[in-house]
């Protein structure tokens, strides 16, 4: 009965490959997010969706494409992976788009070789 679950937890791949990370929340929240945490633990917001609509799109390379098939799911697809994409990617959700408590998944550690 995990609230925010993301898969896979670990992902090791070669430069140039395409990969996806999936996220699902069973909290009934309207808003979902992708955050990237770098090696210095700095967390940066990438995208946010509210009821399947994109509401935040930070300056992220267009190799990153989020998709929200319904409000309980937010997936992240990354094309042409680069070394600098290595990081931990966190999915999160909140009841609404006005800032309240975020509920985070356990993270997906992506290593690009």
């Amino acid at each position: 009965d995990t609230a925010v679950s993301q898969t896979p937890k670990y992902l090791v791949t070669q430069m140039g490959n395409d990969k996806s990370i999936k996220c699902e929340q069973n909290l009934g929240h309207d808003t979902m997010y992708w955050y990237k945490q770098d090696s210095k633990k700095f967390l940066k917001i990438m995208f946010s969706y509210n009821n399947k609509e994109l509401i935040i799109n930070e300056t992220v390379p267009n190799r990153f494409s989020p998709k929200s098939p319904d409000k309980a799911h937010l997936n992240l697809h990354i094309n042409s992976l680069e070394l600098g994409d290595s990081a931990v990617y966190f999915c999160a959700s909140s009841p609404s788009e006005t800032a309240g408590e975020l509920f985070f998944g356990e993270g997906s550690r992506l290593t690009v070789l």
């Binding site: 633990k41 700095f42 967390l43 966190f90 999160a92 309240g100 975020l102 998944g105």
Partner: protein, 111 residues
């Protein structure tokens, strides 16, 4: 750009001692939140303080907010080894829901 910055970057204390960490931010906020991250895990929400509040308590946690100085502090009293984690402040800018995080304070509590 980074909104919140925590200080110190790292803190090492013994069980039973208090741990204090600070967060400074740059723009007007709607609220400020503190999160904990255990090694290899996701972030867990600890406490939210609104811009019109000055102090808030939750168990062994005490958070203060000084909007005139654009700063907040998190105090963990009577620390335990299980408090070992990274602590992040996050700010919600006025009128916009985007939550921005600092780089965190790494706290180590030794038995």
């Amino acid at each position: 750009s980074q909104q919140g910055e925590e200080d110190p970057q790292a803190l090492s204390i013994q069980e039973g001692e208090n741990a204090t960490m600070n967060c400074s931010y740059k723009t007007s906020i709607n609220n400020l939140q503190w999160y904990r991250q255990n090694s290899g895990r996701g972030l867990v929400h600890l406490i939210l303080i609104r811009s019109n509040e000055r102090e808030k308590h939750s168990g062994r946690l005490r958070v203060t907010l000084d909007t005139s100085k654009k700063s907040s502090s998190l105090l963990i009293t009577a620390s335990r080894a299980a408090d070992t984690a990274s602590y992040f402040c996050a700010t919600a800018p006025s009128g916009w829901g985007k939550l921005q995080f600092g780089a965190g304070t790494q706290v180590v509590v030794t038995p």
